[in-house]
Point group: C2
Chain length 219, copies 2
């Protein structure tokens, strides 16, 4: 009561690890934290940090598809994947952002993640989004209209910038207190942190970060 | 007898995850596989794949140092880290490469990984390498001389190129059969694979990889 922490779950539909995270969160102990689904544009994070996504490096793309298949096997999940990838996630992100209420947005976001990654749906299509929104008992037409509004477009940008300010460079990322955890594979660390079983020496960390660089590539 | 697989453990001293992997491999079931320690130059992998390392993206550098501290806490390991990072790992990699016998090289590589990451040793220093080689009962002077030979320099390059040809883009990576596993955090998958508990549908994977790209950033 009262003491439950809120975890900001920054995700983009383009990353299958957001889907894997949503599925793995099903077995999180209830009452450990409130998970707030917050859509962000991965391309915006990559641009800000001058980073590349896994789909932008051919060998890493092959590896990532393989890794996701292993995770799906490990978790016993069906894995279909979208008809094209990378795809433009803006429509899906904006529609999701347009759902103002946290619990409803979490439900919708998860439904979309499953649609993309388990059912092979094309969420760049307004009619697919409409069908899924209707399934979630939303006023689908109103939601799609809201998704196209300047407020929502700007809101998604600002949310992406907020993530960048927190140091988030990839998705999914989980932010709580002044900590963040990157990747569905770090959910055990998030869980340990929330349970008070993961503490690190911040002083020692700062000292290590302050040490000099002795070699840099020209890039 | 005869059926034990060999896993190529590609690593660079510059990555703390190689150290974490070496420590985690201590609890691998004996007899599951032979682990062959094979040094490669991470900078070479990054260059070939036009990728950046975690230390080359400021926010990712901070996150990585944090993540390693969490892993050290989780595994109960002391974590000191090197006096400067990134550092030039070539001397350490070449000295390690110069140890021709697999078991001896594994022992030396692990000793160096621990020296860098648990004890804060500077392995860019020949005298540090000499001390550690002597501790491992090698003829340290002869090893350092070999490390400077054209054969060893070229051998390390070729080994790095071999890893690149296998699709390896980061370290540590574990290659066995036609599979590879990237990161100390994927050792459970490697273990499952070696135990016959991790099979994925390669046909389905190929089909997903062959689907079109629908959106690309200009980078």
């Amino acid at each position: 009561m009262g003491g439950m922490k809120t975890v900001d779950f920054f995700f983009d539909f383009i990353s299958p690890y957001g889907w894997l995270a949503a599925r793995q969160l099903e077995s999180f102990p209830p009452g450990l934290a409130t998970i707030r689904y917050r859509p962000v544009l991965l391309a915006g994070l990559l641009h800000a940090h001058e980073n590349k996504g896994p789909a932008e490096i051919p060998a890493k793309r092959v590896y990532t598809f393989t890794d996701v298949a292993r995770w799906a096997h490990h978790l016993g999940l069906p894995y279909e994947g979208p008809p094209a990838h990378p795809f433009n996630p803006l429509l899906a992100l904006r529609t999701c952002y347009a759902v103002k209420e946290d619990e409803a947005r979490a439900r919708f976001a998860k439904r979309l993640l499953i649609a993309v990654w388990e059912e092979g749906k094309d969420v760049t299509s307004p009619s697919t989004i409409e069908t899924l929104a209707t399934e979630c008992k939303f006023d689908a037409k109103a939601l799609l209209t809201a998704a196209g509004s300047p407020e929502v477009k700007e809101g998604l940008k600002l949310q992406t910038q907020e993530a960048i300010r927190k140091g988030v460079f990839g998705v999914p990322s989980f932010c709580v207190d002044d900590e963040f955890f990157w990747g569905s594979d770090r959910l055990p660390f998030l869980k340990a942190y929330l349970s008070g079983d993961l503490s690190i020496d911040k002083n020692a960390l700062e000292k290590r970060l302050a040490r000099p660089r002795a070699a840099d590539r020209r890039i």
